[in-house]
């Protein structure tokens, strides 16, 4: 378990499949995620959840639980490159009524800390659609900076929008972590 202040990150798996199915089929949740999928059946989602039981070294998914144990979203590393010591992360809060309450920020901070302190990474990065203002604000708050703009890279609601690559370096994160209290 990876511990944050408001949430814990646990291994993703079939026990949460009902939640995964609900989140991935919620149009409002998916709208900003950058995935474009048809409705997903219980069976298909179960297959995805089962696959999380055999994770590989270069990618890993976690489910975000509140401190009371309620599953509210997923996050994880979609790429872990130990040679170059960077990882690409992804995160979603699937329970919409819990948006804008700091759960995503807390999960992100816990995940990033795990990346630097436990995995020993040099850099953590992510991609985000330029239209996703909520996520963008969260990433900036956590110290990520925009490294590249991929012009009109993503099709969103009938139009093309930019994709942003963001990243935070080990030193930048350490400087921030020194001035912020740790979670227990």
């Amino acid at each position: 378990m990876i511990r944050g202040k408001k949430v814990n990150l646990v291994a993703a798996g079939p026990e949460y499949v009902e939640f995964y199915k609900k989140w991935i089929n919620d149009p409002v949740v998916v709208d900003m995620l950058g995935v474009r999928n048809y409705p997903i059946s219980a069976e298909r989602e179960r297959e995805w959840a089962e696959r999380q039981l055999e994770p590989t070294d270069d990618r890993r998914q976690f489910t975000i639980l509140t401190k009371r144990g309620r599953p509210i979203g997923n996050c994880g590393f979609n790429v872990i490159d130990y040679q170059n010591r960077f990882a690409v992360l992804g995160i979603m809060i699937g329970e919409r009524e819990l948006w804008d309450k700091g759960y995503g920020t807390d999960a992100l901070e816990a995940l990033v800390r795990f990346g630097f302190e436990t995995l020993g990474l040099h850099k953590v990065c992510l991609t985000v659609d330029s239209v996703n203002a909520r996520a963008l604000a969260c990433y900036k708050k956590c110290g990520f900076v925009v490294e590249a703009v991929l012009r009109e890279h993503r099709f969103h609601r009938g139009k093309y929008c930019d994709e942003l690559w963001m990243g935070i370096l080990e030193d930048e994160w350490r400087a921030r972590a020194r001035s912020a209290p740790r979670a227990r």
Partner: protein, 180 residues
């Protein structure tokens, strides 16, 4: 993701929809207008369950159950098939149970799926084949922006004689232009 409209939710087709689906496609009046080449004999719920399992596993197809937003009851099936990524083209088909006809549900479901295909999936063209006797369906498709491409002359046998189908299509720009 599910496709949501004012009164409907289109979710993934599930094995538990078999009973409902069998009821719909065994209704003689539904079957009469369906023009589906492969549906000839009566079908039981077990066979439908098998069909659902097999089509759900196929790549490049999406089969959805049209349900009422209020209560979640299924009223029909909508499928997107023959998805051609390079040519950005897809085939659409829909069938609604008879009690849900003539209430605008078909138009609402088709318009919702077109919005999804054009504005989210970046599809360029959606096409379909409809029995030329199915005036109700043709009107629904025209309301959604479809126009007639041509006729498949005597492409199937029904009611003791050869019958024809109409091919219709709608392009992304045409669909977006409608809303303006």
């Amino acid at each position: 993701m599910n496709i949501e409209t004012k009164r409907l939710v289109l979710r993934a087709l599930e094995p538990e929809d078999a009973e409902f689906l069998a009821g719909v496609v065994n209704d003689p009046e539904v079957r009469d207008l369906l023009g589906a080449y492969e549906l000839v004999f009566p079908v039981g719920p077990k066979a439908e369950a098998k069909w659902i399992a097999s089509v759900s596993a196929r790549e490049g197809e999406a089969h959805m159950t049209v349900t009422l937003r209020r209560g979640g009851r299924p009223i029909g099936i909508l499928s997107v098939k023959d998805m051609d990524d390079r040519n950005a083209s897809a085939h659409l088909s829909i069938v609604l149970e008879r009690p849900s006809w003539d209430q605008g549900f078909g138009t609402e479901a088709v318009a919702g799926v077109l919005d999804f295909l054009f504005n989210r999936m970046n599809v360029h063209r959606v096409w379909l084949r409809v029995n030329e006797r199915n005036v109700r369906a043709i009107r629904c498709y025209e309301k959604c922006g479809f126009s007639r491409d041509g006729i498949l002359r005597e492409d199937h046998f029904e009611r003791g004689c050869w019958a024809s189908s109409i091919i219709m299509s709608v392009l992304a720009d045409e669909f977006r232009g409608r809303g303006r």
